[in-house]
Amino acid sequence: MSKNSAPIKGRAFVLGKNIDTDQIIPAAHLVYSLEDPEERKLYGKYALSGVPSAESGLPEGNIPLTKDGETESQFKIIVASDNFGCGSSREHAPACLEIAGIEAIVSPTYARIFYRNSVDGGFLIPFESFEDLSKEVKTGDELEIDQVNHTLKNVTQDKLYNIKPLGSVADIVHAGGIFEYARQNGMVPAK
């Protein structure tokens, strides 16, 4: 995850609403180690594999996040409709997206635990949009998130949208996660 305020650029992967953690990483795959460098790549391979094919990579659908046989995605930014990450508390959900190469998500609303896990684990940045951009952005569009001016630019369609500032979690996001934040504030001894 980018731990500074530099712009985040990359291609969009678009999803609908209520994308729950079983769709993000189906439960059968929760068994792999996140520590082992090779085994952990399997999370990239199966990220978003539970999304029904027709709804994967909107508006066209039938686009997997990671191509068959690969563990990293060509997409960098997920644009989704409401309530992204609902369901279980599995941290494997933001982790698998990071492993697949996702750096940020833009959605009007998130499920609480997913949001918190993304921030505290320093996996990716969950940005909140004012409107549901999943109807406007198309999978494959080039996007640019400006973290200073709080905007999302759709380079392909030449459109600019405002997004919400990170608010009270900004310090944790920019520290890179809860441990880094706690170290900076003397709550956990330095390594």
Binding site: N18, D20, D22, Q23, P26, A27, A28, L30, V31, Y32, S33, L34, E35, G50, V51, P52, D82, N83, C86, G87, S88, S89, R90, E91, H92, P94, T109, Y110, A111, R112, I113, R116, N117, D120, G121, G122, S168, G177, I178, F179, A182, M187, V188, K191
Partner: protein, 437 residues
């Protein structure tokens, strides 16, 4: 101005006189629970961050309950239980309920109360979204991720944003004979939506709640997460005390909402007006009354999980199944080993529940999460194809119980049992009325 029960607990645990919704506070943790899916990665982070020789903040406050992928040949899943075992030995943990031993329990959210870890006024975190179940005991309980759990293992603390509280008030003095707590919570989730309580507390109150047993209350708070809630909570009373005191002599302090506490919103229901409900595929808020979908096609019935696999759930199902043969593949999965044993000793008109199920042709599994969340392909009851299942569990998103092609209706154990007996979606009032008369 007064505070809600949740605000009071968070204030006390963060050393403040008062807190307000939106405040970020660091709270002291009374109990941290983890299981076989999220425990190993949390342990990995703990060691990485605090050092290979680090010790947990308080070994008496960490509870490890393997329950998810237990009866499987999946090598990775079994390796994960080994990781827990090694950690429990290394940290000398008194509360590790190991697989294959007499102490093995099963589903963590039911095991926690059984073992006396759910106590009024306390703060409990768990690496599982249904940790909110414990709020039934008048405590603050919520699910967290592995990083947060590792942070607690090392420090005993965690930051929490104080949630606003939505109050759900129930009138009526008892549950109508055909209604279960599951119907109530499906109705609420259907009304407010799967994100209707996001970031908020769901507080269940009123005369109608006082009439509920502990297990009923647990069904309500269990599914707070299905509306996006941070926690679900019920004020403690004699029912709570009787349950807790029978399980632990650990001291606790009961906390209540002030009459002038400020709520995000107040919602009224009357138990007498409520009817059996389902959540249709593929979302817990896709509500319908059972009447509306009556006769719907089914392949399978499933009774189990932290939501619908408690003793009272099986008793309810057995009342309907007794003396019948099931027309669907019907899976019975007790949440815990204690419940599994009780199925042998609890009787209806002299017949043990387990015999009622066996004679009806049900398949009976071992205490664990089993097919509630799909799991490895050899999991008991898993939907491996295009099955349509009616289930007493809590989630029916695509692929939740296995295959993406399967479909799941969520319903009360009464409705699942009635449907198992007839072979199609069936309103339990057909059977209950008969029993009452």
């Amino acid at each position: 101005m007064g505070m809600t029960l949740t605000e009071k607990i968070l204030a006390k645990h963060s050393g403040r006189d008062r807190v307000s919704p939106g405040d970020n506070v660091w709270v002291d943790v009374d109990v941290l629970m983890t299981h076989d899916v999220c425990g190993p990665p949390a342990i990995g982070i703990f060691h990485k961050q605090f050092g290979e020789n680090a010790k947990v903040w308080d070994k008496n406050k960490l509870v490890i309950i393997p329950d998810h992928y237990i009866f499987t040949n999946d090598k990775y899943a079994n390796r994960n239980v080994d990781v827990l075992r090694a950690f429990a030995a290394e940290q000398d943990l008194p509360y590790f309920y190991d697989v294959g031993t007499d102490s093995y329990k099963g589903v963590c959210h039911v095991a926690l109360p059984e073992e006396g870890f759910t106590r009024p006024g306390e703060v409990l975190f768990g690496t599982d979204s249904h940790t909110c179940t414990a709020g039934a005991f008048g405590q603050f309980a919520t699910g967290i991720g592995n990083t947060d759990a590792a942070f607690i293992m090392g420090t005993g603390k965690l930051w929490v944003k104080v949630p606003e509280t939505m109050r759900f008030v129930f009138e009526g003095t008892s549950l109508p004979p055909y209604l279960m707590a599951k119907d109530i919570i499906l109705q609420i989730i259907g009304d407010i939506g799967v994100d209707g309580a996001t970031y908020r507390t769901m507080e269940f109150a009123g005369e109608g709640i006082k009439a509920l047993t502990m297990e009923d209350r647990m069904t309500l708070t269990n599914m707070a997460i299905e509306a996006g809630g941070k926690n679900g909570v019920v004020e403690p009373d004699e029912v709570t005390e009787a349950y807790v005191k029978a399980r632990t002599d650990h001291p606790y302090e009961k906390v209540y909402s002030d009459p002038d506490a400020k709520y995000h919103s107040i919602h009224h229901y009357n138990l007498e007006d409520m009817v059996p409900m389902v959540a249709k595929p593929h979302s817990p808020d896709n509500k319908a009354t059972v009447e509306e979908v009556e006769g719907g096609y089914l392949d399978r019935a499933y009774i189990g999980s932290c939501t619908g696999g408690k003793l009272s759930d099986f008793r309810a199902a057995a009342e309907i199944i007794r003396g019948n043969k099931v027309k669907l593949d019907t899976y019975i999965v007790p949440a815990t080993t204690e419940i599994a044993r009780a199925l042998e000793t609890e009787t209806i008109f002299g017949t043990p529940l387990i015999d009622i199920f066996r004679e009806a042709g049900c398949k009976i599994g071992n205490a664990s999460c089993a097919a509630c969340l799909g799991g490895p392909s050899d999991t008991f009851g898993r939907l491996n194809n295009e099955e349509v299942c009616i289930s007493s569990t809590n989630r029916n998103y695509p692929g939740r119980m296995g295959s993406k092609q399967s479909q799941v209706y969520l319903a009360s154990p009464y409705t699942v049992a009635a449907s198992a007996v007839t072979g199609v979606i069936t309103d339990p009032r057909v059977f209950i009325q008969e029993t009452v008369i």
